[in-house]
């Protein structure tokens, strides 16, 4: 490894860092614009063309705001926590290939900062580290509200980390590798000659699992309970102001970009796309980079779309979804994937087809049976599952009517 190698590595790091930083800045602006559009407003339009420099203005404003450190705060941790949140999101991006490969002289340069063999484990490790930023921030503030908020938020993030891990685990099993470059490699080519051979096809369920978990993990709406404006006066950030507060939310936006990039890499073929014979050249690498950007921006848009559409979950529903729905379903899917992979490797083709046929037959039979039961009326489990609205209110109305009759009064119409 000589000086040129070091220089190339530095340039790649710079490119990645610049891309990701400008991406974050543009995401903050884009989110405000898009959400405004979804609410028939205009959004930021004062600074720069279309308000594109709004993030800069926001940043300047936040850095010049009064910075308060509470007396009771654990100073060191209090300062480190916001940085942790931001840095961790940055570190995750290191393993993402954000462009193609090209040749300079006799060297091959890949637009990826680091390609370790543990690849996606690094993603999981880093995203679990971001919990520390929140938990430590809540604890170090030296106040009860942030502490409660921090505990709540870490509980949420840990619950969804399991689902996220299971979503990725299914992909590990499917592709048989942890290394990001190999996962991307495995997604090149096509199914049936025209569909791109992305993991989203065979692993659609893992994708849904992973993406929902990623939204919860990044604390984005509809899972933005850590902010908790209503219940906890801003949760774990209650005691943070100015630049330190900005760091937490920068971290959130950075995570959004990073998670979109991870989703694209793992399920949508990363920088794969038709290169029109430009493989190995700089132009080809840029084209691949363009594909990667398009896909990532699409996912960032989905994040924003979610925010513009869905109301915030309540905490109990959030926890139910994480532990009671995603965890068992995720385990099931991992098992199923493993079974399919093992079957592919061991069985002959006709045996495999027979197996699939049996599974399909069983599924169709189950579907028919369930339809039969559905026709006979609502299942008893439905009433157990939702005792809140449908079953509770009419009975309340009935009791009111009965009480009125007992008193000999005229029958009161209760508006339900």
């Amino acid at each position: 490894m000589d000086l040129t190698d070091v220089l190339i590595a530095l340039l790649v790091v710079l490119a990645g860092f610049g891309l990701w930083l400008t991406g974050t800045a543009l995401t903050i602006w884009g989110e405000r614009r898009v959400v405004a559009k979804m609410q028939t407003r205009i959004g930021p339009n004062r600074v720069g063309p279309l308000g594109i420099l709004q993030t800069l203005a926001d940043g300047i404003k936040l850095f010049f705001k009064e910075d308060i450190t509470p007396e009771a705060a654990d100073k060191f941790t209090y300062y480190v926590a916001p940085m942790l949140s931001a840095v961790v999101a940055m570190l995750t991006f290191a393993v993402i290939p954000f462009g193609g490969t090209f040749e300079v002289g006799d060297r091959e340069v890949t637009m990826q900062i680091w390609d370790p063999e543990i690849g996606l484990l690094w993603v999981l490790a880093m995203s679990s580290l971001s919990v520390y930023g929140i938990a430590l921030g809540g604890w170090a503030s030296g106040s009860k509200y942030p502490l409660l908020g921090g505990v709540r938020s870490s509980a949420q993030m840990i619950s969804y980390e399991l689902a996220m891990g299971l979503g990725l685990a299914a992909v590990f099993i499917w592709t048989g590798t942890l290394q990001v470059s190999e996962i991307v490699e495995a997604q090149s080519g096509t199914f049936f000659g025209f569909l791109p051979a992305w993991n989203i096809g065979p692993q659609i369920f893992a994708f849904v699992l992973f993406f929902v978990a990623a939204v919860a993990e990044t604390q984005r709406p509809p899972f933005d309970l850590p902010e908790a404006e209503g219940e906890l006066v801003a949760g774990f950030v209650t005691e943070y102001s100015g630049a330190k507060f900005a760091m937490f939310f920068l971290g959130e936006f950075m995570q959004m970009v990073t998670m979109s990039a991870v989703t694209v890499t793992v399920f949508f073929g990363g920088p794969n796309g038709p290169l029109f014979g430009l493989e190995g050249t700089l132009l080809g690498a840029l084209l691949a980079h363009f594909y990667f950007l398009i896909k990532t921006v699409a996912f960032v848009f989905v994040f924003i779309w979610l925010r513009g559409t869905l109301p915030r979950f309540t905490y109990n529903r959030l926890m139910d979804l994480g532990w009671k729905v995603f965890l068992p379903l995720g385990l099931l899917w991992v098992m199923l994937t493993a079974a399919i992979v093992v079957a592919q490797e061991t069985l002959a083709q006709d045996e495999l087809l027979f197996g699939i046929g049996v599974v399909l037959a069983v599924l169709i039979a189950l579907l028919l049976v369930s339809m039969l039961f559905e026709r006979r009326g609502p299942e008893p489990e439905d009433e157990d599952a939702e005792p809140t609205d449908q079953s509770a209110l009419p009975s309340a109305a009935e009791t009111a009517r009965e009480a009125a009759e007992r008193r000999g009064a005229k029958q009161i119409e209760v508006d339900v």
Binding site: M38, T40, W305, L310
Partner: protein
């Protein structure tokens, strides 16, 4: 479930392509209704004399006690308004004013009216007490700022205050010709109108005399009770 998702996400996706309803306020101002109650103005006659005669009826009518008027006598050498007196001190406190419009209804000379200006804000409380020089309408074109002398005023030969009450609804042709010169002084545009139209204009100016009780709403409320 999928139908609900399609509906919800479809709605926001569709809304993205609708034009924004935002009014970009400081840049673009929306037109207010014709009878909007904005900042007051103290009107003048076309020759520059003030319409305010310092009668203080506006101050008496004000439910918020926001108006302070002190009248003073006109003298032959210094005439500010037609008649005996003029408003020497005139102040409206916009910290108290509720823009109800009772003052403009009380004004017998249509001196006090309300404009469409609603941008009333200041850094200091004192700045929101508007004095006479702020409230007075600008001088009409070619007019001389008061005080005028009585000689000048007499030479013009104008009958001041042609309110709706002073107009004869059955005015003859001669009569209307007599007042035509006066009309021209008020507003050249009114010269083009016929007598009937002119009376309509005057009637519209004086909202209060032509005000009619809304019939439908009254009967509704009686039914309710």
């Amino acid at each position: 479930m999928f139908n609900a998702l399609r509906k919800g996400f479809g709605l926001t996706a569709k809304t993205m392509f609708r034009p924004a309803v935002t009014t970009e306020y400081p840049d673009v101002k929306r037109q207010v209704q014709p009878r909007f109650h904005g900042r007051h103005v103290l009107n003048r006659y076309p020759d520059g004399l003030e319409k305010c005669i310092g009668c203080e009826l506006c101050a008496w009518a004000c439910p918020a006690d926001a108006i302070w008027v002190e009248g003073a006598d006109n003298t032959p050498g210094a005439r500010y308004s037609p008649g005996e007196r003029y408003g020497a001190i005139y102040q409206i406190n916009y910290l108290r004013c509720i823009f109800c419009g009772l003052c403009i209804e009380a004004c017998p000379t249509r001196s006090l009216t309300m404009t469409h200006e609603y941008e009333l804000s200041a850094d200091r409380r004192e700045d929101l007490i508007f004095t006479k020089d702020q409230l007075l309408a600008p001088l009409p074109e070619g007019a001389k700022p008061p005080p005028h002398t009585d000689e000048e005023v007499r030479a013009r030969g104008i009958t001041y205050y042609p309110g709706a009450q002073s107009q004869d609804p059955l005015a003859t042709k001669e009569h209307s010709e007599e007042t035509a010169a006066h009309r021209a002084m008020l507003d050249p545009a009114l010269m083009q109108l016929s007598d009937v139209e002119y009376n309509h204009v005057e009637r519209d100016r004086n909202i209060w005399t032509e005000y009619e009780e809304p019939q439908g709403e009254l009967s509704d409320s009686e039914e309710g009770s």
